[in-house]
């Protein structure tokens, strides 16, 4: 073909047309169309394992809580900012509106009108009474029962069988009277009244916990342990359990009797995919719409040039990882040694090297995003190898010489092994401490560390059951607390905690907690390392997946009724 033809007006016209199309496609100045809803409103999610239970009174694991939250609703819940708000209650009770008595011991909470169960039956105050009694039932032995011990008669009822050392054998009549003696009652059909033994700053938080969600007495009595199966279960949440295929998946559908705004989704499927790599592959293959990024893939999704980067949501958790120290185990019973440990680990290198950046270094215990957070606490424990060495020398171990054997007990997992290697080399290089790492399986670890406190040091984490310092301080570091696996004991700390508990003014209360927090950290009761950050991938067509710091194993689980799916053609925003 000769050159003249190529340059003919026809080809010119064609070229212009192509240019025009390209220009139209790039359309930079047009505002992006807001996404419209897709025809199929189905959200597909993933959990790692089949839940052991979804009975609100028996569950204490965040993966199970994620399945309980769509199905049941309590008097209170949390908004996007982790602030407590009414759910089934009409309003937050205060002294002013009469919801709380002046001495802080009586809570009268009105249930909103029209609250119903998923089978259409009306929800009444007596459902809440039954539920709290069941939560404290000593036969059931629920894991969170002790959270409600501030309620009159709760401790006595829950401990009715005594302990193995001093067992009690109450008769059926005695048990019944103990049950009736618990300080919860129904005032009419729609008011629940709680009686406390002492003012409890976090009481509303306790009522927002899934343990306080109402359950149906008749359903439980009829079906026993099988009451949570899909064909039996009756809940009062925004969704109902349409299907539970064991070890395969759980399917939720909207609850037509939900009092609040109807869910926009027509179905939520939660698949149980055990292997992280397979789950990540499932996300990439488009089989699930959201996934928590496995550690091995964090670098990949953080790469700005990767398409996955646009789908990445980063949300800090209310969880702090720390070196947990047994304050009674030598050589860590010496405060100088503990303080040395606080200076000995390079937290920045830890977050970069071990977590691929998915963490926020911290020297304080209570994380950002909840009351009681104070970044200045512990700031004296910045990484400083020479300070660490000095402190050790003061304790009698010059250049780490004569330092007794240190064994870290850890749960055997890939991420723990990586962390262990890092900490081991840090201690060796920075202060000359030779440490050994023992990796054991989950149950053995639970028995040794949580049960028997047979350890020197370990790397562990604590996450908020509710966003208030009483969940982080007195329970863990109070010398009388059964959960004080640190064996930390400081009478001044105990006194501050007691003052905080008795204080009714919130600002003053937080001051006391703040002082206690500072005291414990100055004592180096443990060595905080970092706050965890969740890396979550969410497909672009998923709209309004509200991820909060209080979420469980499914991100967005508090507000799934707001989530919806956009139609694919409108889902991707313009460049």
């Amino acid at each position: 073909m000769d050159i003249k033809r190529l340059a003919s007006w026809r080809s010119l016209l064609l070229g212009l047309a192509v240019l025009g199309l390209v220009a139209a496609a790039c359309g930079g100045n047009e505002p992006p169309k807001p996404p419209g809803p897709a025809e199929e409103q189905v959200l597909r999610l993933r959990l790692q394992a089949e839940p052991k239970t979804i009975d609100p009174h028996l569950s204490n694991v965040i993966s199970e809580a994620s399945l309980i939250k769509p199905l049941f609703a309590g008097l209170f819940t949390y908004d996007e900012g982790a602030k407590i708000v009414p759910n089934l209650a009409t309003e937050l009770p205060t002294v002013a509106n009469g919801g709380v008595s002046a001495d802080g011991l009586t809570y009268s909470i009105k249930i909103r009108d029209g609250a119903k169960w998923s089978d259409g039956k009306a929800l009444t105050a007596s459902d809440f009474v039954y539920s709290l009694q069941r939560a404290l039932d000593p036969e059931l032995a629920g894991p969170y029962a002790s959270s409600y011990y501030s309620i009159v008669g709760a401790r006595d009822y829950n401990k009715a069988f005594g302990s193995t050392k001093s067992p009690k054998t109450p008769t059926a009549a005695e048990l019944e009277s103990l049950r009736e003696g618990v300080g919860v009652s129904a005032s009419g059909e729609s008011t629940v009244v709680y009686q406390l033994t002492q003012p409890t700053p976090s009481f509303l938080n306790h009522l927002a916990l899934w343990t306080a969600f109402p359950v149906r007495q008749d359903v439980i009595e009829e079906h026993g342990a099988n009451w949570t199966e899909a064909e039996n279960i009756v809940g009062n949440g925004a969704f109902v359990l349409a299907e539970w295929s064991h070890d395969l998946r759980v399917v939720f559908e909207p609850n037509q009797y939900w009092h609040g705004e109807a869910a926009k989704l027509s179905q939520i499927t939660v698949q149980f995919i055990g292997d992280d790599a397979a789950a990540f592959a499932a996300y990439q293959a488009g089989e699930i719409d959201s996934v928590i990024v496995p550690a091995a893939n964090r670098r990949q999704v953080s790469d700005v040039n990767s398409t996955l980067f646009e789908e990445l949501v980063i949300e800090p958790d209310l969880r702090t990882f720390a070196v947990f120290i047994n304050n009674q185990a030598a050589p860590f019973n010496n405060k100088l040694v503990r303080q040395a440990l606080g200076h000995a680990i390079d937290r920045n290198a830890y977050v970069e090297g071990v977590l691929q950046g998915a963490g926020i270094t911290t020297t304080s215990w209570i994380p950002a995003g909840m009351p009681g957070h104070d970044a200045s606490i512990g700031s004296q424990y910045e990484f400083d190898a020479s300070k660490a060495k000095d402190l050790l020398a003061q304790a009698g171990y010059v250049d780490g010489e004569g330092f007794p054997k240190v064994t870290f007990v850890m749960v055997n997992s890939e991420s723990n092994r990586i962390a262990g290697q890092f900490v081991q080399s840090q201690l060796k290089e920075n202060v000359g401490i030779v440490s050994e790492f023992e990796y054991i399986d989950g149950k053995a670890y639970g028995q040794r560390v949580f049960g028997e406190r047979d350890y020197q040091v370990t790397i562990q984490s604590w996450s908020a059951d509710w966003p208030y310092p009483d969940n982080w301080l007195p329970e863990l570091f109070g010398s009388e607390s059964s959960s004080n696996i640190f064996n930390y004991s400081n009478p001044e700390f105990d006194a501050l905690m007691a003052k905080a508990a008795a204080e009714t003014d919130d600002a003053k209360r937080l001051e006391f907690y703040g002082k206690g927090h500072k005291l414990m950290i100055d004592d180096a009761g443990l060595v905080p390392l970092y706050n965890r950050v969740s890396y979550v991938l969410v497909k672009p067509w998923v709209q309004d997946l509200v991820i909060t710091s209080l979420d469980g194993a499914i991100k967005g689980d508090y507000h799934l009724s707001q989530t919806w799916i956009a139609a694919p053609s409108t889902a991707v925003a313009a460049d």
């Binding site: 000593p138 399986d441 149950k443």
Partner: protein, 317 residues
């Protein structure tokens, strides 16, 4: 023969008893129980109450005796970690998945493995032989996990031809028994890789060995076609060593591959057994052990009987 089979069945009792005793002892010897705290803040009363509920506060020997007493009546107990469900029910429903997976795998491995091996042997030192041996070596060398994830990335993530996992019995090829063929392909191939390789090797060696025998020379001298020589005489004798392998192989596959089941999220007994140990689910561990003991014993018996059927030289007294 009947007497032999009868004797073997009688031996099942003592065998299972012995297995149960060892498992029970080991189970209680290791650290950690089913209700030990998995996080801070689990009140000791709760642990004690749970131990009481499931009879774990009794002396160990009495717990064993209670278990035996129930087991001989056919009651394998309840699972501690799965909403008190009946152990037998759990195992039977999951075994369906594992058995089908195992069956499909044995089928594929037998056909592919034996086929490759025969091909290699018949075309010895030529291309089919080298290719067959190469694929067999790869199948044996690449770990199931690596092969599986590779297949997932190529066929599911890359090509979108197949799902990344799952085993749906409801909408499957045979409802309640077989999942959709799409879901079955990758797990079966992954699980079959190693057995195929092994069978190919054994078959090749066995066929080569038989091909050199004198009685085949007689058959050829009689005027039989090469085809008849192979299928009517050589193959039947070559099969015997293959049966040696298929027996234990079947038992292994029937009891489930934890790795493949975990990777493809298959609700089978392989995963169940491993999980139950990690959970210290005493009820399930004991039930699963008895179940497996039975399955393996029966599988071995079937293989031994098959031997006698195939090889007239073998007689049991």
């Amino acid at each position: 023969m009947a007497a032999y089979v009868f004797r073997r069945i009688l031996w099942l009792g003592p065998t299972l008893l012995f297995i149960s005793l060892i498992t029970f002892a080991l189970m209680h010897a290791i650290d950690g129980g089913p209700f030990d705290p998995d996080k801070i803040g689990v009140p000791p009363e709760r642990i004690e109450a749970l131990n009481r509920k499931y009879g774990l506060d009794e002396p160990v020997w009495r717990q064993y005796v209670d278990f035996l007493a129930n087991a001989v009546q056919g009651d394998l107990g309840i699972s501690f970690q799965r909403q008190d469900k009946d152990v037998t029910a759990i195992i039977v429903s999951k075994f369906r998945v594992t058995a089908v997976l195992g069956g499909l795998t044995i089928g594929l491995a037998s056909v592919a493995g034996v086929g490759l091996g025969v091909l290699a042997a018949l075309h010895r030192n030529r291309l089919p032989d080298y290719a067959g041996v190469f694929f067999a070596s790869v199948g044996a060398a690449v770990p199931a996990f690596v092969l599986g994830i590779l297949l997932i990335y190529v066929f599911a993530v890359g090509l979108h031809w197949l799902p990344t996992g799952g085993w749906d019995l409801q909408g499957g090829m045979v409802p309640g028994w077989l999942p959709s063929w799409r879901q079955a392909i990758l797990p079966v191939i992954t699980l079959a890789a190693l057995p195929t390789a092994y069978l190919a090797r054994v078959t090749r060696a066995s066929v080569l060995d038989v091909l050199g025998q004198d009685y085949l020379r007689t058959a050829r001298a009689k005027g039989l076609s090469e085809r008849a020589v192979f299928y009517r005489h050589a193959f039947r004798n070559a099969v015997i060593p293959i049966l040696t392998v298929v027996g234990p192989l079947s038992a292994a596959l029937l009891t489930g591959s934890f790795i493949v089941e975990e990777l493809f999220s298959l609700p089978g007994t392989g995963r169940l057994f491993v999980q139950s140990v990690g959970d210290r689910d005493y009820g399930l561990i004991m039930g699963a052990t008895i179940f497996y003991g039975l399955v393996i014993a029966v599988a071995n018996l079937v293989v031994d009987v098959a031997y006698a059927a195939v090889d007239p030289r073998i007689r049991y007294s």
